[in-house]
C-alpha cells in the first residue's frame, strides 16, 4: 500500500510557519508581561492562557465567528487576499498558532522573569536603548530556555486537531493535517495508514521534546 505523506508534510509546514509567528510575537508579548507595569496585565496573561484550557471546539467556534466569511476579520482577509481564509491551509496555521502560542508565552515569560536584572540595568547605565538591551543582553541570556519554549510550541502545533478541523476542515491534499488524516484513516478502516502516521508523528514529537529538554537548564 502506498502511503500518502502529504498530511505529514503539510503538518510540518503549518507548524513551522505558526511557530515562526508565535516565536516573534510571543517573545515580544512575554517581554512586555515580564518587564512592564500596566493595568490589566494579569488579565491579559489570563486571556492569553485561555486557549490552554478551553475545549478546541469552543476555540474553533470563536475563530469561525471572527474569521468566517461573515466575520469582521474574515471579510478583511478576503478583501486583502481575494479569497476566504476558512478551509485553506492558512487557516490551519491560525489553528496551530492558537494551539501553541499560549504555551510559548507562558514559558518565555517565566524565562524572562528569571533574568538577573543587574545585567539589563548595567546595559542601561551604559546608554543602551531599551531595544538594544533586549536584543543584545536579555535575549542572549535567555537563549536556551526560549529555544526550548519554541521547540515545545513547534511540537504542540503539530498536534492540533479540534481547531484545525473546525477552521480548515478535512480536505485531502489541501487542508488535511496529520492529526486529521489519522482520524480519517481510522474512520475509513485504513489501519496501515493510521498506524504509520501515528508512529511517525510520535517519533517526531519525542525527538523534539528530547531536544527541548536538552536546552532547558537543569540543576545538577
Amino acid at each position: 500500500m502506498a502511503i500518502d505523506w502529504f498530511p505529514l508534510w503539510l503538518s510540518l509546514r503549518v507548524a513551522a510557519i505558526s511557530t515562526l509567528i508565535a516565536a516573534i510575537g510571543g517573545v515580544v508579548i512575554a517581554y512586555l508581561l515580564a518587564n512592564r507595569r500596566f493595568r490589566g496585565k494579569e488579565a491579559i496573561d489570563a486571556a492569553i492562557s485561555l486557549p490552554l484550557v478551553l475545549p478546541p471546539t469552543v476555540l474553533g467556534y470563536y475563530l469561525l465567528v471572527l474569521l468566517g466569511r461573515e466575520g469582521a476579520l474574515g471579510k478583511l482577509y478576503e478583501s486583502i487576499f481575494g479569497q476566504p481564509l476558512v478551509f485553506t491551509w492558512q487557516a490551519a496555521v491560525v489553528a496551530a498558532l492558537l494551539h501553541s502560542a499560549p504555551l510559548l508565552v507562558k514559558y518565555a515569560r517565566a524565562a524572562l522573569e528569571s533574568v538577573d536584572h543587574s545585567y539589563e540595568r548595567a546595559a542601561r547605565t551604559l546608554g543602551a536603548s531599551e531595544f538594544k538591551v533586549f536584543l543584545r543582553v536579555t535575549l542572549p541570556l535567555v537563549r536556551k530556555p526560549i529555544l526550548a519554549a519554541v521547540a515545545l510550541a513547534f511540537a504542540r502545533s503539530l498536534g492540533d486537531f479540534g481547531i484545525t478541523i473546525m477552521l480548515a476542515g478535512n480536505i485531502p491534499g489541501r487542508t488535511q493535517t496529520v492529526a486529521v488524516a489519522i482520524y480519517d484513516a481510522v474512520e475509513a478502516g485504513k489501519g496501515d495508514l493510521a498506524r504509520t502516521l501515528v508512529i511517525a508523528i510520535s517519533a517526531l514529537a519525542l525527538l523534539i521534546l528530547w531536544l527541548a529538554n536538552k536546552l532547558e537548564p537543569h540543576k545538577s
Binding site: 543587574s118 545585567y119 542601561r124 547605565t125 551604559l126 546608554g127 543602551a128 543582553v137 542572549p140 541570556l141
Partner: protein
C-alpha cells in the same frame, strides 16, 4: 557636586517591613562613602540616583544637571543620567568576552575613537592579556577592574559602587581600593560607594555619610565621626565603643574640667559644654583609648577596678572583656606580662572622655 534630596516610601511586602527613605545628601568630595547597616537604605539611594527607582519627592542633581525633580516632573532615564554603576556581582555580560563588554560601553563614542579608547582603558587597568576571555574565565580582581573600566568608558558623571568589596579576601580588597584611587587620579570622576565595612570608609572616604533606618544620622570626615559620633546609634554602628551611663557631678569651665560618676567611682574629664550638674548622660570611649594594668595596692586616680572575663587575640592587639562589660584593647606585649592575672585596673585618660 552631588545633591540628592529623596523621599520614598516602600510599603510592607511579604518578607520586608514598611520602609521610608528620607535623606538630603550633599557632597563635593572625590570619594563619598555611604556607611550603614543592612537595610539602612544605602543601595536604594544609589538606585534612585542611577534612575532604577523613582523617589516620591525630591531632587537629584550632579553639578549643574538636574537628573530628577519631582516638583518640575523631570525624570531622566538611566540611559540619559550617565551614572556609572558597579554592581555587587559586577554584571559583566556573560555571553560576551571582556573586550566585547568594553566595546558595548563604547558604542556611544564616535566610531574612530572607540577602538582607541577601549585599548587605552585596557592598558590602564591591565586587562590586555585576558581581553578575549569570557567573564567566567576571569579572576575576581580582573572582573572587578573590567566592571569599573566598562563603567568609565561611557564617560559617567559619577561612579556608583554597590558594596563592591563584599565577599572579597584581603588582597582583592587592596586591589579594589587601588583601582578606585586610580579612578580618582586618572579620570577625576567623583565616586559614591556603599559599604558596611568601617575599615573601607577609612581606606577610601574623603566624606563619610552614616545612614540608619532610611535617614542620614551623621556626615563628615571619617576621623571626625569616629571621634565624635552624634548619637548613641552612630556610636554603636561604628562598633566597639564602651558606653557607660554616668551622672555629671561637677563642671568647672574655668579649669575646663568636669567630674562624672560611674557606679561608685569618680572620673575626671574635660569640660562638657551645654550640660548641667546632675545630668545623666552616656560616656563613650573606644577600647583602644583605655589602658588596663594588673591591679596593685597603689590608689590611682581616674581608674576603676575590674575582673577579667575573657581575653581574645586580635591581629594587632588583645581584646580584654571585663565582668562589668568594659572592653579594652591593649598591645599584646603589655598583656602577656600579666596574662594570668584576674584583677585589673582600667585607666580612663581624662582627655578621651566624651559624652552623648
Amino acid at each position: 557636586m552631588i545633591q540628592a534630596r529623596l523621599r520614598k516610601f516602600l510599603s510592607a511586602g511579604p518578607d520586608s517591613a514598611a520602609f521610608t527613605l528620607d535623606i538630603d545628601l550633599q557632597t563635593s568630595a572625590g570619594v563619598t562613602v555611604l556607611f550603614g547597616p543592612s537595610g539602612a537604605g544605602k543601595t536604594l539611594t544609589l538606585d534612585c540616583i542611577a534612575g532604577f527607582n523613582k523617589p516620591a519627592e525630591g531632587r537629584i542633581a550632579i553639578d549643574d544637571t538636574v537628573l530628577f525633580d519631582a516638583a518640575a516632573a523631570i525624570n531622566f532615564t538611566p540611559q540619559d543620567r550617565r551614572c556609572g554603576y558597579v554592581f555587587q556581582n559586577y554584571a559583566l555580560f556573560p555571553h560576551m568576552t571582556l573586550r566585547q563588554n568594553l566595546q558595548f560601553a563604547a558604542e556611544r563614542l564616535p566610531r574612530l575613537e572607540r577602538h582607541r579608547r577601549v585599548g587605552e582603558i585596557m592598558d590602564r587597568f591591565q586587562l590586555n592579556e585576558v581581553a578575549g576571555r569570557k567573564p567566567h574565565e576571569l579572576s575576581g580582581g580582573q572582573k572587578q577592574r573590567t566592571s569599573i573600566a566598562r563603567a568609565l568608558l561611557a564617560a559617567p558623571r559619577i561612579l556608583l559602587l554597590d558594596e563592591p568589596s563584599i565577599g572579597l579576601d584581603i588582597p582583592l580588597k587592596a586591589e579594589l581600593y587601588a583601582a578606585i584611587r586610580q579612578v580618582r587620579a586618572d579620570f577625576g570622576t567623583p565616586v559614591l560607594l556603599v559599604t558596611h565595612d568601617l575599615n573601607e570608609c577609612f581606606e577610601l572616604a574623603e566624606h563619610m555619610v552614616v545612614m540608619c533606618n532610611g535617614t542620614i544620622a551623621q556626615s563628615g570626615p571619617p576621623l571626625k565621626i569616629l571621634d565624635q559620633p552624634s548619637t548613641a546609634e552612630v556610636a554603636a554602628l561604628l562598633g566597639a565603643y564602651n558606653l557607660l551611663p554616668v551622672e555629671i557631678r561637677t563642671l568647672d569651665p574655668g579649669n575646663k574640667t568636669s567630674r562624672v560618676r560611674f557606679q561608685e567611682w569618680d572620673l575626671a574629664g574635660p569640660y562638657l559644654p551645654g550640660r548641667f550638674r546632675g545630668d545623666r548622660v552616656t560616656l563613650y570611649i573606644r577600647p583602644d583609648q583605655l589602658t588596663a594594668t594588673a591591679r596593685d595596692t597603689k590608689a590611682t586616680s581616674n581608674a576603676i577596678p575590674a575582673t577579667l572575663l575573657r581575653a581574645t587575640e586580635l591581629p594587632n592587639s588583645v581584646r580584654l572583656e571585663f565582668t562589668n562589660g568594659l572592653r579594652v584593647e591593649t598591645p599584646r606585649g603589655e598583656f602577656s606580662k600579666s596574662s594570668n592575672n584576674k584583677d585589673w585596673t582600667i585607666h580612663f585618660p581624662p582627655e578621651a572622655i566624651r559624652v552623648l
